[in-house]
Chain length 174, copies 2
Amino acid sequence: MGDIMADGRTAQTFGSENLLFLTDEQLRQGIEAMFFAYRGFTADPDRILSELAYGRAHHRAIHFINRAPGTTVNNLLAILGVTKQSLNRVLRTLISDGLVESRVGTIDKRERHLFLTEQGQNLESSLSDAQRARMRTAFRDAGPVAVAGFKQVLEAMMDADMRRTHIQLRDSTT
Amino acid sequence: MGDIMADGRTAQTFGSENLLFLTDEQLRQGIEAMFFAYRGFTADPDRILSELAYGRAHHRAIHFINRAPGTTVNNLLAILGVTKQSLNRVLRTLISDGLVESRVGTIDKRERHLFLTEQGQNLESSLSDAQRARMRTAFRDAGPVAVAGFKQVLEAMMDADMRRTHIQLRDSTT
DNA sequence: AGCTTATGTCAGTCTTGTTGACATTCCAAG
DNA sequence: CTTGGAATGTCAACAAGACTGACATAAGCT
């Protein structure tokens, strides 16, 4: 359809042998690699979470509250890309379980600023440790050049607003 | 915890400046990059699917049936990593909607071999086109070296059995 | 003949997402 | 000062897609 040639190469392939890595087959392999890798990426924290009756949504909230302590609900909403009702259900359980603290804003009292309690930080650490251990092994096995390429491709794959959020988080902690 | 040093570097960091990309901060950035990129990765097909009352589960089934036509239900189960009840629900709708055909095996009549109908192939194409378009742009922007690194890290991140499945699929179509 | 395998199906549960409606609180503009 | 809108929270209902457990059927294997 459209730009697909009969032999399965894209139009860009012609005129430059450097672009042979853009065959449909190469792209499909990239797609499958993302699928299988994401499974591995989430497997370790998922195991820990399932024992605590929490899910991935709780992990994501905990991760980004840890990353940007004092963030508002609205800000977290934008990062996570879910509805406030969805996030609220997760936050409610985390707050009532004593993992997250919600403080009314001093400047704007409508806003709630979110922080991890000590207990929340402990869970964050154990989830993060598991995920980082896998990432560390993968990075070490692949080497620095591969890691640079990995990040480059991932950033190019994001939506523009997510790329902005990602870069902002990245640079704020470097 | 455990191997985390006070300054946030991992134990491996010491003794080799080449391994500075393994700081906890670098690993965290990798984790977030995966999260944001995966959102972009699924965004385009998700839009198409939502108009057809299908979800990601249908997409995954269609993708791998297209990739390995004639595959059995059991085989697909292993690739997708879900329960047969979960997969069956998806397959039932796809078969009754005329996108997938299920043929009783000739050698082993217990097995069902799965194929995309012409209609199924059409949907696969439009989903795949959308996803490949994004992947193609990302690959082109990042360049061949980055793409090689990207694939290398993703493979290192997979569980061993998923890596086997991935490599098997990759080599069977090259 | 009996055990195992492959598949399908029914019933129930859980997480996580959705929409819609409505209340509260507060800032800011008229 | 009042009113409109923004930020937040809550309730209710619903759907997708994962899960477990149980059971049925057919076919292959020993």
